[in-house]
């Protein structure tokens, strides 16, 4: 098993190199460079000043040379500095990650704890009223644009009723509050974004659970269990559910990158200081080091997520063995 894991990890390295090379290549292929967005139409910034800036950031060197010098630094875990505000990339990512993790992880927990029972129940009681209602609601959630729901919740609960704050993660006077007040305040700010994420994210997962549960229930061994006279509860929750969860593990592994990737539109609306905004803004500003940093970390986590779900497979399903 350990040998298998090590082998998988060593296979990640060429993958990471290939993907990072592609990322930088795509960034360079798009027309423009970090100076064109900022100074392209500024009458007070001359062309020669822009050329000097490019030299300062090493953008005048050939593409491959730029990539190799990035690669050399990344081996020592030096992600470089942002072109926009000159701060270390790792510091920029480090200050965003907690905000995104907090939101995405709590959303994930919420989604799982609702989607699983809903999925199972609507599979077991297929075509019942409960199934029809949840199907209807879940599809509404699926079809609702996040930004629209976010603005709607904001309007009703923050603007009309004033139960929750409109946006942000903490008020600007947080530094003057006690630690307890600060935690309470963050939770208070978390409610609306969390509801939005959960409602729109519920659909696919509960559908997956329902579908895979339906598949399992049709299996011969379930019929056998029934024929043996096992109680329904035991059949469903012990025998069927365990098998139905296999595909869900795959999904769990795939959500890991989203967990740290965040979402641009969503974070913009809620003024949430997360990774989605960082990634999007750095692409728009041609901030190569940050794009590369965010990219490489997401790719790494995706690969790790896949690996973890593969390992979990073996743990859950005795038929799967890695040698």
């Amino acid at each position: 098993m350990i040998k298998y894991i090590l082998k998988r990890i060593s296979l990640m390295i060429p993958m990471l190199i290939g993907i990072s090379l592609l990322t930088l290549l795509i960034m360079h292929l798009s027309p423009g460079d970090p100076t064109s967005m900022r100074y392209g139409l500024n009458p007070e910034v001359s062309g020669s000043a822009r050329a000097q800036l490019q030299e300062l950031y090493g953008l005048d060197k050939p593409f491959l040379e730029q990539y190799i010098s990035w690669l050399k630094r990344i081996v020592t875990l030096d992600f470089g500095r942002s072109f926009v505000d000159n701060r270390p990339v790792i510091e920029k990512i480090g200050e965003r990650l907690p905000a995104t993790l907090l939101l995405q992880a709590s959303a994930l927990i919420l989604i799982f704890s609702i989607a699983m029972p809903v999925g199972v129940l609507s599979a077991v009681k297929k075509n019942s009223l409960f199934d029809k209602i949840t199907t209807f609601l879940v599809f509404i959630g699926f079809a609702t644009p996040t930004f629209w729901l976010a603005l709607l919740l904001m309007r009703v609960f923050a603007f009309e009723l004033e139960w929750f704050p409109v946006s942000g993660m903490s008020p600007w006077y947080a530094a003057y509050m006690t630690p307890f007040e600060r935690v309470r305040d963050i939770l208070w700010h978390l409610v609306l974004p969390l509801l939005t994420l959960a409602f729109t994210g519920l659909a696919s997962l509960s559908r997956y659970v329902r579908y895979s549960m339906l598949e399992v229930i049709k299996q011969d061994y379930i019929r056998t269990a029934r024929a043996k006279g096992l109680p329904d509860k035991k059949i469903i929750y012990k025998h069927a559910l365990k098998n139905a969860l296999l595909p869900v593990i795959t999904i769990l592994g795939m959500t890991l990158p989203a967990l740290i990737g965040g979402s641009f539109i969503f974070e913009t609306i809620f003024a949430w200081p997360g990774m989605g905004r960082l990634g999007y803004m750095s692409i728009m500003q041609y901030d190569y080091p940050v794009v590369m940093g965010v990219g490489i970390i997401s790719v790494f986590l995706t690969l790790v997520g896949i690996l973890i779900s593969d390992i979990l497979y073996a743990a859950v399903d005795p038929r799967i063995r890695y040698e």
Partner: protein, 549 residues
């Protein structure tokens, strides 16, 4: 049942009692309010404004976005600044003298100014700042504005002399760039300056100093009690970063922020309620920007002045201002800030007149000979592509409206919106366009060399329409080389008149800036410079104080 009822009664009585008490105390409060003195005073209140994006770097000559330069303006001072009427006045310089040959400027500095870390400000700091800017290794974007400086000589601690290689009128304004402390930045070069921790935790001489900066959340500035002009009356300046304007508006109403820039739609339709106007003051003044349609003059289609004039006549500017800005803008006739000495009110205008447009076009040889509804000349139909950048709703709307106007006089226009950087790189920089919609932000100084001089039509310059007029070149050169305001006015008014006649652009409009500010802030006096020029004089009467520290 009866117990329940009694409880309810008790509750009701309690509520009535409490509200009566509140009413009485409220009454006495408002009486107090009436007697409280309403005059400028230091209040430990905070001013919370909403910003669409975060600052990036707090070194004045590297701060190139509006958020960063806004904060820099509160933390640092320059030798000069512009006052409410956009005139150059002294800030760190008490006074200055310009030699007769206009090549030497001597500044007499304030001698009672301290850096926020307690070190005294001297001429050394001034010399250091401008030498840092002028060193090419530091790759300062604004270096071009200072290139005519030949040397900087310190005469004594509070007197400094700038020697220019040729007279350069915008100098006084350009030298208003924020001064950085030598004792902090001495010895740093290029990347080191940008990487310095003081780039995010600045030490200036200004009215505010940085307290807390949470990236993409908020920036808190504390007032500088020893500020040499006077201690600012509002003791905290907070900028909250809220990237969505609609959300900003919700924050404004619910009290999360005290001020924001309104969109024309919000100004017109969302804030016209009594409730809003009880709590907020709305302001309206011209932004130093204009939006225009530019024609590529190297394209034979636009070579004839009559054609460009016809294109301008065919557009109803008033209707565009109404449609795109909800009427919250003013007609623009030339590239200078309206209501300043450079702006010429008596230039040729192009009121909406499609018949006149058709007449001019037929004079220029464009007629519909094949009756297909589109004008043609020598077998070539009058058909071209109008481009603008993506993501600017107003420009996209203008494109659609203008397309229709031009269609009405027999011109076929295809509209294309292109992602901003591609738009710049592939179309503007390469002169690869026929007509485009763009906007300029106008510098306070009227010098327009970088956009209208024929030298700026060369590679990468911003005269991308290729405008070249020896008379305009001469006037631009004269205007920037004399300090005589009357002579400068004559130059710029003349340039304005020529451009209005020749219509290399169809100048469309100046938009308004539309800030809303919570009413508890007093002392706001709108002027041509906007409202924030006297921020340190804003104050909150004690009775209306919201935050307490």
């Amino acid at each position: 049942m009866t117990i329940d009822f009694r409880k309810k009664m008790q509750k009701a009585l309690l509520i009535i009692g409490v509200s009566f008490l509140l009413f009485v105390t409220g009454l006495s409060f408002s009486i107090n309010k009436a007697f409280a003195k309403d005059e400028p005073q230091v209040t430990h209140d905070a001013y919370v404004s909403g910003a669409l994006s975060d600052a990036t770097i707090l070194i004045p000559f590297l701060a190139d976005d509006s958020a960063s330069s806004g904060i820099c303006g509160l933390v640092y001072n320059g030798l000069t600044k512009v006052d409410k009427d956009l005139k150059v006045v002294g800030e760190l310089a008490k006074d200055w003298r310009i030699s007769d040959d206009k090549l030497r400027i001597i500044f007499y500095l304030q001698d009672n100014v301290y850096w926020q870390d307690g070190v005294k400000f001297t001429a050394e700091d001034v010399k250091f700042t401008f030498e840092t800017i002028l060193n090419p290794d530091n790759a300062v974007p604004y270096i071009a504005s200072f290139q005519d400086i030949e040397s900087i000589n310190i005469i004594d601690d509070y007197t400094i002399e700038f020697i220019y290689s040729r007279p350069y009128a915008p100098a006084l304004l350009k030298l208003g760039m924020g001064i950085i402390p030598k004792h902090i930045f001495f010895g740093l070069k290029g990347q080191q300056i940008r990487n310095s921790k003081y780039a995010r935790d600045p030490i200036g001489t200004g009215p505010y100093r940085l307290d807390i900066w949470k990236t993409d959340e908020y920036i808190i500035l504390d007032s500088n009690k020893d500020y040499f002009e006077h201690e600012p009356y509002v003791s905290k300046y907070v900028e909250r970063i809220i990237p969505d304007q609609a959300v900003q508006f919700l924050e404004l109403i619910t009290g999360g922020i005290d001020s924001m820039g309104l969109s024309p739609y919000q100004y017109k339709y969302r804030t016209d309620t009594e409730k809003f106007n009880q709590r907020f003051n709305k302001y309206k003044y011209l932004a130093h920007q204009y939006t225009y349609i530019g024609y590529n003059l190297s394209d034979p289609m636009f070579a004839d002045k009559k054609v460009r004039q016809a294109l301008s006549y065919a557009i109803d500017k008033e209707a565009i201002i109404k449609g795109v800005l909800m009427g919250l803008g003013e007609e623009c006739t030339g590239p200078f800030i309206k209501d300043t000495y450079a702006y010429n009110e008596d230039v040729k205008r192009y009121p909406y007149n499609p018949d006149k447009a058709k007449e001019l076009l037929s004079l220029a040889g464009w007629k519909d000979t094949d009756n297909d509804g589109i004008l043609d000349k020598d077998g070539v139909p009058f058909s071209f592509k109008l481009i603008t950048n993506q993501g600017n709703k107003q420009r996209e709307d203008i494109a659609t409206i203008v397309q229709r106007y031009w269609q009405d006089i027999g011109i076929d226009v295809e509209v294309q919106t292109i992602a901003f950087v591609t738009f710049l790189k592939e179309f503007v920089d390469k002169r690869n366009f026929q007509a485009l919609i763009l906007g300029w932000t106008m510098p306070i100084d009227a010098d327009c060399y970088n956009v209208w001089h024929s030298n700026a039509a060369k590679d990468g310059g911003l005269n991308f329409i290729g405008y070249s007029n020896p008379e305009v070149d001469r006037l631009i050169e004269e205007g920037r080389s004399t300090y005589d305001i009357d002579r400068r006015a004559k130059c710029y008014k003349e340039i304005h008149a020529i451009l209005a006649e020749e219509q290399p652009y169809t100048f469309l409009y100046f938009p308004y800036s539309l800030p809303a500010v919570n009413k508890r802030f007093k002392g706001i006096v709108p002027a041509p410079a906007g409202i924030s020029y006297n921020f340190i004089d804003w104050y909150v009467p004690e009775s209306e104080q919201r935050y307490k520290f």
